[in-house]
């Protein structure tokens, strides 16, 4: 009985701590970095930190002068009560840095946000995820890689972290939310803003098996400067960052930089040397990022994930092409119909157009189209982009 009472007291207490931090940051406009500085100085004692700022207990060494801690950039007035209302309406909650449920890995980074705005319960249980990031303008290949890696990771229970943007981020989230590991999206805007708008569906779905987090106060628009800050959270929450496709100047590379700063693993997925979309990842690999061609490459690198070993990988020493991706590729199907067989043989893993298939198979176009539709219906091949087909 006593325990339960204590628990409730604690809960109440922690809730009020979050609210007090909210007041400090957005009503008194203490800059978050100053807050964290004082917090660390006080060996992570949240109460004394808050007391220092509110001036309840005067610190012996320093006399509190609020002007020293004012944040420089936020000139905007915040209405705390309306923010609280938004948080209640949106079914979201706050996590402060002193809470147990605040992601442990995030506490370790140089400048963790004192307050996280969250939605969905995944964030409370995350031990360490893998970030899958990349360009917003991906190729079909990038899309497949992002979806494949995320799905496989999520299947064995690893949470996939990404930035809720379009492109690679979108495909990573989308593939991960349907498996056990779930997904966490880190926003560069307020929790009540869906950006980009076409991710609305994803935004609703991700909450069911994952969460959305942001350090920005509700109502913050997706400003350009928010995104590098968001990237530091993406890598901060994760044990490693997989860069799927990134051109030479890409936000994904900023995430990779943060990952190095925060002592996280960096992985790069190789692409074609001719694709501008893969130049950034190749650059990373050249500088020492680990080349990823199956998820075992990721799992082997991070010792905490030993428990998560994928079933296909029998021993670490075996060459990694024994993994599921390669196995699937070697599988050949035989058909009774010679025409269908011919077309199946022609369609490989590089996209081929209908015209090419028709010329190579020497079949007329209507036969080719009929077999292609049949193979598509049987989920053996798929259309990559305009009129180009590959095996699944």
């Amino acid at each position: 009985m006593q325990d339960i009472k204590n628990y409730y007291n604690n809960a109440e207490c922690e809730c009020s701590i979050s609210e007090r931090i909210l007041n400090l940051l957005y009503e008194q406009k203490i800059s978050p970095s100053a807050f964290i500085k004082e917090y660390k100085k006080r060996f992570s004692d949240i109460k004394s930190t808050i007391d220092f700022f509110t001036g309840d207990k005067k610190d012996n060494d320093k006399i509190f002068n609020p002007d020293n801690y004012k944040s420089g950039f936020s000139k905007k007035e915040f209405d705390i009560s309306s923010i609280k209302k938004i948080l209640n309406n949106e079914n979201s909650f706050m996590l402060n840095i002193s809470e147990k449920q605040y992601p442990g890995l995030l506490k370790q980074i140089y400048f963790p946000p004192p307050l996280l705005f969250c939605k969905g319960s995944k964030i409370k249980t995350i031990k360490g995820g893998i970030a899958v990031v990349g360009t917003r303008k991906n190729t079909a290949y990038g899309r497949d890689v992002a979806a494949y890696i995320s799905k496989e990771l999520s299947k064995i229970g690893i949470t996939v972290v990404s930035g809720m943007a379009s492109g690679i981020d979108f495909w990573a989230h989308k593939a991960a939310i349907n498996e056990v590991g779930g997904s966490i999206g880190v926003l560069g805007c307020g929790i009540n803003i869906v950006y980009p708008r076409e991710n609305k569906n994803l935004y609703c779905k991700i909450i069911e098996n994952g969460s959305i987090i942001t350090e920005f106060i509700p109502g913050t628009p997706p400003l350009k400067k928010n995104f590098p800050a968001r990237n530091r959270l993406i890598s901060g929450i994760s044990m490693g960052v997989v860069v799927v496709e990134a051109p030479e100047r890409s936000g994904a590379l900023i995430t990779a930089d943060f990952a190095l700063e925060q002592d996280r693993e960096v992985f790069g997925v190789p692409g074609s040397i001719f694709f501008p979309e893969s130049q950034g990842t190749h650059h990373l690999i050249k500088n020492g990022a680990k080349l990823v061609c199956c998820i075992d490459d990721i799992l082997n690198e991070i010792h905490q994930f030993c428990l998560f070993k994928s079933p296909n990988c029998s021993s670490e020493k075996k060459p990694s092409c024994n993994n599921s991706t390669c196995k699937r590729k070697n599988k050949n199907i035989t058909f009774k119909n010679p025409g269908k067989q011919a077309i199946y043989n022609i369609i490989g893993y590089m996209p081929k157009t209908v015209e090419e298939i028709s010329i190579l198979s020497k079949l007329n176009i209507s036969e080719v189209l009929h077999f292609i539709a049949e193979l598509q219906l049987e989920n053996i091949i798929q259309e990559k982009s305009l009129n180009q087909f590959v095996r699944m």
Binding site: G167, V354, S366
Partner: protein, 515 residues
């Protein structure tokens, strides 16, 4: 003194009979026209007065009232000069009794110049048809119109150079019959000349096997089709060659088409036998697309009747303009209401649309990368009307050519070979639908479509699989089956087979449908 003779007024493409009544009475000399004449009709007072005098007749210096009845229909254009002039001459007893009898049994149309010469008028075919229907013995018209009028199988069309010739022909009926016989023989000569071949040919289109096949199917079943692809891959080229693989118009169809064209200025008086191909630019106004104006004129959709309407750069067309196409696509005609009249123009056309896959044009291209963001692409596709997309049965991608294809000199199938297959397919459909109000697979109703697959369990099972995989709607399924039927007809099969259905699937699903 009273006299009445017959003439015509045009309402949309149809002509109705109008009576020109003249009453000459004593009083101050004047000439009044009543019966809702427009400015051009009213001005005919001056032309008629001068023409009568310059033709050597006497203009009666009396009070003249002319009524164009029925009086509640607006009369337009300078076409009533001739009937008014003839009526005045008859009423003032300047022609003999025998001629008056001929005049009473005839219809007149024509614009007069001041010296009494006759100028050609518009819409003569509908008038000739109406004159045949009303049972008038002769139809007097300007000589410039006679070739068009003779497209309607009727003797008694009399083309005249001047007002004088009208009266001399009315006096001697033999000249009329002799002349129309001459014209018949002249017409058969000119028709042979009309059958010259097209300048374009399908063999000029390189690669694009799938798109070409799709267009062939579309032409065979008159399915609306949309082509999506990056710039410069041959979308417009294919569309322009579409008419070369379509069968010529049948006699009744060509008369329908010619009737519409003879309302426009571009008509040269020869029976149109080839299917029209209309390619309006996207800056076209609403009225010139659908038809309209104070006195409604046919728009591009009516000029494409029985032929092809090609909308290039489809997304550039203003949205409200595209929405206007909804009802005409469904009803095969457009009704324009002005004052208390409804003008009905036929517009049974095959729609062919070309568009880029995104703003920069290279979305999904294998050679160049697209510069558009996902939001831009979805905005781009959202700007294209859903209901219109829904009515388009076939969607086909026209991707960029293979490097080898661009320089290849291999000859592809010529238009005439493809046209032969399309003609066969049209014949099969004409036979199948001879008891129905529609002519092509694309127009078949849902009840009829179901009868195609009711007996085939194999097809039904496959169809179920397809619906489950691609999550097709009811309309999409019937569209799919219509294409399937056309593919089967192209192969001369009575029953549709699974291979036909699977091929048809290629034109429904795919990348574009996903956006």
């Amino acid at each position: 003194m009273f006299f009445k003779l017959s003439s015509f007024a045009l309402i949309a493409v149809e002509a109705i009979e109008v009576y020109v009544e003249v009453h000459i009475s004593a009083g101050l000399p004047s000439l009044t026209i009543v019966g809702l004449p427009d400015k051009a009709v009213n001005e005919s007072r001056q032309r008629v007065r001068a023409a009568i005098k310059n033709s050597g007749f006497i203009f009666p210096l009396k009070k003249i009232i002319i009524n164009l009845s029925p009086a509640d229909i607006r009369k337009e254009g300078a076409i009533y000069d001739l009937p008014i002039a003839v009526a005045i001459l008859a009423a003032s007893e300047q022609v003999d009794l025998k001629t008056v009898e001929v005049i009473e049994n005839s219809s007149f149309i024509g614009e007069l110049s001041l010296d009494g010469q006759l100028r050609p008028v518009k819409g003569i075919i509908s008038m000739a048809e109406e004159s045949l229907k009303t049972g008038r013995k002769y139809f007097f018209m300007p000589a410039g119109n006679i070739a068009q009028a003779c497209l309607v199988k009727k003797s008694g069309n009399a083309g005249c150079i001047s007002l004088r010739e009208v009266l001399s022909k009315a006096a001697d009926e033999k000249i009329i019959t002799r002349q129309s016989r001459d014209i018949e023989s002249l017409k058969s000569c000119s028709n042979k000349k009309n059958e010259s071949d097209y300048l374009l040919d399908f063999s000029e289109v390189k690669g694009q096997l799938k798109a070409k096949r799709a267009v062939e199917i579309a032409a065979a079943g008159m399915h609306h089709i949309m082509m999506v692809g990056p710039p410069g891959t041959g979308k417009s080229m294919i569309a322009q060659r579409l008419v070369t693989i379509m069968p010529d118009l049948t006699t009744s169809e060509s008369l329908e088409v010619t009737k519409i064209y003879c309302l426009t200025r571009e008509f040269d008086g020869i029976l149109i036998k080839k299917r029209p191909f209309r390619n309006p630019h996207h800056t076209i106004s609403r009225v010139s697309l659908t038809g309209g104006g104070i006195s409604p004129k046919p728009g591009e959709i009516s000029l494409a009747h029985r032929g092809v309407l090609f909308l290039d750069e489809f997304n550039q067309f203003p949205k409200n303009l595209i929405e206007d196409l909804r009802q005409p696509l469904e009803n095969k005609n457009i009704i324009i209401s002005r004052n208390n009249l409804h003008y009905k123009f036929p517009c049974s056309f095959m729609l062919i649309i070309a568009a880029n896959p995104c703003n920069c044009g290279y979305n999904g291209d294998k050679k160049r990368t697209c510069r558009c963001s996902t939001a831009e692409i979805s905005r781009y596709w959202n700007s294209i009307s859903g209901p219109i997309m829904d009515r388009i049965d076939m969607k086909v991608e026209v991707p960029s050519l293979d490097d080898r294809d661009i320089i290849s000199t291999a000859e592809a199938e010529t238009s005439s070979i493809i046209r032969q297959r399309v003609i066969n397919c049209h014949k099969i459909q004409a036979k199948r639908y001879k008891n129905f109000s529609f002519m092509y697979n694309s127009e078949a109703g849902i009840k009829y479509i179901n009868s195609w697959i009711s007996a085939e369990t194999e097809i039904k099972n496959l169809l179920l699989k397809i619906i489950q995989k691609y999550k097709l709607s009811g309309r999409a399924v019937s569209g799919l089956l219509k294409i399937t039927r056309t593919i089967a007809d192209l192969e001369n099969c009575n029953n549709i087979k699974t291979s036909h259905l699977l091929e048809a699937l290629n034109y429904r699903t795919g990348q574009i449908a996903g956006y």
